[in-house]
Amino acid sequence: MSRIGVAFDKARADGRAVLVGCMPAGFPTVEGSIAAMTAMVEAGVDVIEVEIPYSDPVMDGPVIQKASDIALAGGVRTADALRIIEAVAATGAPVVTMTYWNPVERYGVDAFARDLAAAGGTGLITPDLIPDEAQEWLAASDAHGLDRTFLVSPSSTDQRLAMTVQHCRGFVYATAVMGVTGARARTSDAAPILVSRTREVTDLPVGVGLGVGTGAQAATVAGYADGVIVGSALVRCVLDAPDRAAGLTALRTLSAELADGVRNPTR
């Protein structure tokens, strides 16, 4: 079983959901992002999702777009992202990588899988790669023992849902709302329905992302999902902070609040 699977199993045994926290690699700097993700782990985030910054992130809202732009303007490269993954994996927390497809294709799909595995990454979340186009990635992830997280959406038909989860390994990412990343005032009504539809076709754990930003929202989502995925709200802690120390403090505070949320699910 993958390390992600172990994390989900352990949390399930504790009667709680896994907390996944996302941060773009190289934001605000290479060292800064390692410090941020390490702080998240220390404050109770179970799994770190490292997003490889990309010039055209169509699934991301303004907060992650801005953070990605800052990372790219700072000159971060795919090789840096792999170094960051290695450093964060060294904390002991499982690290999953989220990436748009073109950087992987450009690196070379098999070479990327090989180097990701060597860096200690567990696998990929692919927001713009659907299983229909993933032949090369299916082969490379098998060859290098990596997990594959494809997205399912409230608009997915039953047929696509079944097909998509069949190609997943590790966990399934359920997008809570029809939209892009970004914290929202309300949690989604569509998400619990999507999670139960997904559970009908797979035994894999189901993580819910898009729009979760507070401890209370994390508790709500933990009430029906196996994993709670938080991105923009964490990124904003660093983006809005006057200096690095304040950013790390805000990040620790929010991480702890979210960790508390997943331990006290609303049912």
Binding site: S55, W101, N102
Partner: protein, 409 residues
């Protein structure tokens, strides 16, 4: 059409043109793309849809557009030049064909809102026009840089009742407008159709857009036969995303003796890195939902494109062109800003026609191929050029370029 292998039904059912095309999109959009694919296939097989589309193209858009033998230009080029006058269409470019087709489909799908991206503003204006005609809500995403260089078209869209949203992310040009439109679509896909303005994007857009604009070539092919009793030796078009070029190429793909030339925006010159020639100067990648030639760096980050022509200023190209290039059926060559503007002036002065700067790239390309074709064929070649649009929107840019604006203008 002949039995040429390239004339086989392409793309495949999943939208692949050889190794190009396909769908690289968030899962959230797949249901809408499948719905669109189904609606398009059903519509194209439906006599009443085809009749409605044909009537709109004729009575509203003013097609078939003329095929004009440009004699004074011919004399300058040493070639017999036929201009396909898409500039005379309603809204001033070939783009109206695509938007009318997609707006009709939007109605059939029961959606009440359209969104569009635009560079030059031509597609935005055409979309706003169709939205007004079909009583659809219309939101147009336009890079902030482009809203400045195409202010007149921004005003046009607003007059037609569209909301223009200046996009301030990334390079603030067409590619970023497309990102923003995609984000809108993911969030509002139930009631919204994304009216993509060129033969790019995820399947079925490249093939569907080609189908809606293929009338350009179908008409021109027949007009050639009627007017000169033969097919042209070469067909020339500018290539941004690639719709006008595919529109005129498609009818000739099976005619092995007809050479197909696509002219990309060479900007300051491909060697300078400041250009928009995705096929000549790019490499295989995935952008905006499709696999194609892309301007990108070593890490797969999209590189900003440069062109004097806002409508060609895009770092990708439709996947069918990538495939026509790889197969050798069509030839793609860059044309610099300087060469395009010289051809712009040439057409103004020889024929009294002010072309869109996009179309001036096709004219400049024809200037370059004319002597080569003449040498190869040993006679005066016949060159069919797609004059994809008129230059009204470019008067300011061209006026500045030629230094002919009075100070206070």
């Amino acid at each position: 059409m002949s039995a040429d292998a390239l004339a086989a039904p392409y793309p495949d059912t999943a939208g692949h043109f050889g190794r190009f095309g396909g769908r690289f999109v968030p899962e959230a959009l797949v249901a809408a793309l499948d719905e669109l694919d189904g609606a398009w296939r059903t519509a194209m097989a439906d006599e009443s849809f085809r009749g409605e589309f044909a009537a709109l193209l004729r009575d509203y858009a003013g097609t078939p557009s003329l095929l004009y033998p440009a004699e004074r230009l011919s004399a300058k080029l040493g070639a017999r030049v036929l201009l396909k006058r898409e500039d005379l269409n309603h809204t001033g470019a070939h783009k109206v064909r695509n938007v009318l087709g997609q707006a009709l489909l939007t109605k059939r799908m029961g959606k009440r809102r359209v969104i569009a991206e635009t560079g030059a503003g031509q597609h935005g204006v055409a979309s706003a026009t169709a939205a007004a005609l079909f009583d659809l809500e219309c939101v147009v995403y336009m890079g902030e840089v482009d809203t400045e260089r195409q202010a007149l078209n921004v005003a046009r869209m607003r007059m037609l009742g569209a909301t223009v949203v200046p996009v301030t992310t990334g390079s603030r040009t067409l590619k970023d407008a497309m990102n923003e439109a995609m984000r809108d679509w993911v969030a509002n896909v139930d009631e919204t159709h994304y009216l993509i303005g060129t033969a790019a994007g995820p399947h079925p857009f490249p093939a569907m857009v080609r189908d809606f604009v293929r009338g350009i070539g179908d008409e021109a092919r027949q007009q050639c036969l009627d007017q000169i009793g033969r097919l042209p030796d070469a067909v020339a078009a500018c290539v941004g995303g690639g719709s006008n070029a595919l529109g005129i190429f498609h009818a000739f793909v099976g005619d092995a003796d007809v050479r197909l030339y696509g002219f990309e925006a060479g900007g300051d010159g491909v060697e300078t890195g400041k250009h928009a020639a995705s096929i000549t100067g790019g490499s295989t990648g995935v952008l905006h939902g499709t696999r194609t030639y892309v301007l990108q760096d070593a890490d797969g980050q999209t590189v900003e494109s440069h062109s004097i022509s806002a409508g060609l200023d895009y770092p990708g190209v439709g996947p069918e062109h990538a495939w026509l290039h790889d197969s050798g059926r069509a030839t793609y060559t860059p044309v610099t800003d300087t060469e395009a503007m010289a051809a712009f002036e040439l057409l103004c002065r020889t024929e009294g026609i002010i072309p869109a700067i996009e179309s001036a790239h096709a004219l400049a390309g024809a200037v370059q191929i004319a002597p080569k074709l003449a040498a190869e064929l040993g006679r005066e070649p016949v060159i069919l050029i797609n004059l994809s649009g008129r230059g009204d929107k470019d008067v300011h840019t061209a006026g500045e370029y030629f230094g002919i604006l009075d100070k206070e203008q």
